[in-house]
Amino acid sequence: MARQKKLLRDNYHQARWDESIIFELSVPGERGVLVPCACQNIVSQVGDGVSAIPANLRRKRAPALPEVNQMRVNRHFYHLSQETLGTDVTLGISEGTCTMKYSPKVQEHMAARHPGIVNVHPLQDPDTMQGMLEIYYQVEQFLKEISGMDAFSLQPGGGAHGVYTNASMIRAYHRARGDNKRTEIITTMFSHPCDAATPNTAGFKVITLMPDESGYPDLEAMKAALSERTAGIMITNPEDTGIYNPRIEEYVKAAHAVGALCSYDQANANGMLGIHRAREAGFDMCHFNLHKTFSAPHGCMGPATGAIGVKEFLKPFLPVPRVEFDGQKYILNSNYPESIGKVRSYFGNANVVLKSYMWIMQHGAEGLKEAAICSVLNNQYFMKKIAAIPGVVIWYAKGKRRLEQVRYSWEKLKQDTGVGTDDVNKRIVDYGIEHYWTSHHPWVVPEPFTLEPCESYNKEDLDEYVEVLQQISKEAYADANFVKAAPHKAASHRPTHEAIDDAELIAVTWRQYQKKKGKK
């Protein structure tokens, strides 16, 4: 029995606080914390502490920080938090491709409070941080087992950073063999855009494959693109559409046949844990986003970890230092002359690695597999319900199941009523649900929306989400203009495209804001 009788929160209303920017709250002289003066014997030893800094490095004026008392600051940020919808107050199902699962709070507590974590500094002697290094080492062993790869690096600070690192290793591998002709990387339209963007940043030309009629990357097109110039293929599976490519081995074989390497983007491996491995699919390298599948919170640009895994023959190229066990203790080993070097300061985001370690340990091998099975099962139930909503179309591969997420389309709703995906997305927040992820650019599927009901959500959660979309569809057919004028109950109305896109209008610092608003 559902614990909440009414699923649709039609009385929901978001707070609107008319809150000023914190700089505008500034009152000269007001303080949040009164820092005590240094005591006499410190002063006698270090002086005023400022004159030791060379004159040309000293600022002439104090920084223009807002001067606000502590209570007001506290209230300010609570107000702002009430004007947003975050994962802890709403259903993260909206953020398809992001794998917004519930991350147990105990992980956060450990990362933020455990003295063995918060008091460790990466410049300490490794002998004095054996616990943290053990966690690194153990996570690497887990990921090796989960993927079938032979070695991992946890250094990259994000998913795209991981893909970039893999592209850099592809380059290093071919160069080490004296093969400098390989300048091209092949990816697919529905792979994450970083599979195109980061190899490009790493110096490769990028060739993209369009989907064929079934929604799979066009294999014949790939065969036509492969040559002695191909350095590698970098692809996602399942792609953004949620369609798993069962012929993935054929793609890998075709690429290997011309001497290219195969890199598997498994940023989101949530539907595959314990079921499918990069090694058996034939790949040479892969990556996982610890901040997706492995339950470190994902969002706001990090902190994150793009864990990259390789087969033995690519191990020499992995970033250094590597965390290794010499039989007695854990060490940081930088003695890899062919390594591409360091890709991140120190050895990456330790607190993300810690949270993933905890999550894996809480689940165990069987638990990981169960998480994958539940996420796939959730998606099957969810997709069936959503496909029945008037106005929804599921693009490609008719009758085929999707794995853990689905790229849906409101194209029919748009044709029938003029209400498109942006409109529905503005209305959804009126029911207390976070705006959903439409699609990466470009919109190959028209009027797209991408939902991912991870294993954390139960039937009641899924039903609530479905009910909201059903309601909006009903509203669109009855009164399209009402939906197009949404949101009606959210903290902010529709921002214009210019406000989001136009570099001339965007201000990310107070100084820019004043300049662009003509206040200074």
Partner: protein
């Protein structure tokens, strides 16, 4: 208050339902009527105008009399200001041209018209590319790219534009075919020019880091130019996409014609087929052809660039063809392939398959080329 001009070509689309392939020419029109053809465009215009009627208090609407716009506006619930004069039941292309001219003089912000390729061409001839226009598709044969996908979409996009909401303005091809030849089974479509058309943006906002289409096309031009080989003769086909390559080279460009470049210098402008063939024969080294997809159906050869004839293509060689296009264009085209219709079926067959379309700086997409519009 924004001003909208409405022009309906009341006879567009009449030939289609009775299998006549177009309705240009009085005799054909007569024939179509005898065969029981019903005008297609008024119904479609009304469908689009009904959506715009929601803005009736926020905009001014100018329309040509009777069936050329005023009737449709009223039926859709709009109260248009009627300008000009026509002989009802006897309208002609000249009326369309006159309507466009008068609306331009009165400073309309957008002309919404219902018709086919001929109508678009008439408007282009009358007023050129200055005022944004948008077509409601009603014609039998639409090669031009100035039309919305369907009447509803035309109404939606026009409404957004008139409300000052952000839509992109794109230069879109005006193409028309010789209907007489078409009825005899030959397609001879010419590229007449470009009109400015508002299009609804179908891309995600800043979060996805989407580059603007213009930036991508400029990247494409930089890519093509950076890879230009010494002593290779470059045949640059018509279109706004290929124009960016000439701009990148800082060379004068023929938008609707073919230009020839060697070692980053202009060899000849707006060459005809014979001149092109002659230049290629005289040139000792390698040659390459740079073309883009022309028109709403994505023709790489055979529409608007007939100067690049089968013998020219054969001389240059299949492997020396560079196809360029924006990502947006290919995405809009899929699942349909790019098309070739050179007039030489064997060559079309040879050209079919996969091509690597240059879409940006160090960026390309594998796309299918077909000799058969499926």
């Amino acid at each position: 208050m924004k001003k909208l001009g409405v022009i309906v070509n009341p006879i567009a689309g009449m030939g289609g339902r009775v299998g006549l392939k177009g309705s240009d020419g009085i005799e054909i029109l007569q024939k179509a009527r005898e065969m029981g053809a019903e005008p297609e465009s008024p119904r479609r215009a009304i469908e689009a105008l009904k959506i715009i009627a929601k803005l009736k208090n926020e905009i001014r609407v100018l329309a040509y009399p009777d069936e050329m716009g005023a009737d449709e506006c009223r039926q859709a619930g709009l109260d248009p200001e009627v300008i000009g004069s026509i002989e009802s039941g006897e309208t002609s292309p000249e009326d369309t041209m006159e309507a466009a001219r008068e609306m331009a003089e009165r400073g309309v912000d957008l002309i919404l018209f219902a018709g086919g390729d001929g109508t678009a061409r008439n408007i282009y001839t009358a007023i050129g590319p200055e005022i944004p226009v948008l077509g409601i598709p009603a014609g039998v044969k639409i090669h031009s790219a100035v039309y919305a996908i369907n009447p509803r979409s035309a109404g939606e996009v026009a409404s957004l534009y008139l409300q000052g909401q952000v839509v992109n303005i794109r230069e879109a091809e005006v193409m028309d075919i010789d209907e007489e030849a078409f009825r005899q089974g030959r397609v001879n479509a010419r590229l007449y020019g470009y009109l400015k058309v508002p299009v609804e943006r179908r891309v995600q906002s800043v979060k996805s880091g989407a580059r603007s289409e213009q930036a991508e096309v400029e990247g494409m031009a930089a890519e093509v130019v950076a890879n230009m080989e010494k002593d290779t003769l470059y045949v640059i086909g018509p279109g706004t996409t290929t124009r960016t390559i000439m701009e990148r080279l800082e060379l004068p460009n023929t938008l609707l014609g073919v230009d020839v470049v060697l070692n980053r210098e202009l060899v000849d402008s707006d060459v005809g087929e014979k001149q092109l063939f002659h230049l290629l024969n005289q040139h000792k080294g390698k040659a390459r052809i740079v073309v883009t997809a022309i028109g709403g159906q994505g023709h790489v050869f055979g529409r608007g660039n007939q100067q690049i004839s089968p013998r020219v293509i054969r001389l240059v060689g299949k492997n020396n063809i560079i196809v360029v296009a924006s990502r947006e264009k290919l995405v809009a085209l899929q699942p349909h392939p790019l098309l070739v219709d050179t007039g030489d079926p064997d060559l079309d067959q040879e050209l079919s398959g996969y091509v690597r379309v240059v879409t940006g700086w160090e960026d390309s997409i594998m796309y299918r080329i077909s000799n058969d519009a499926d």
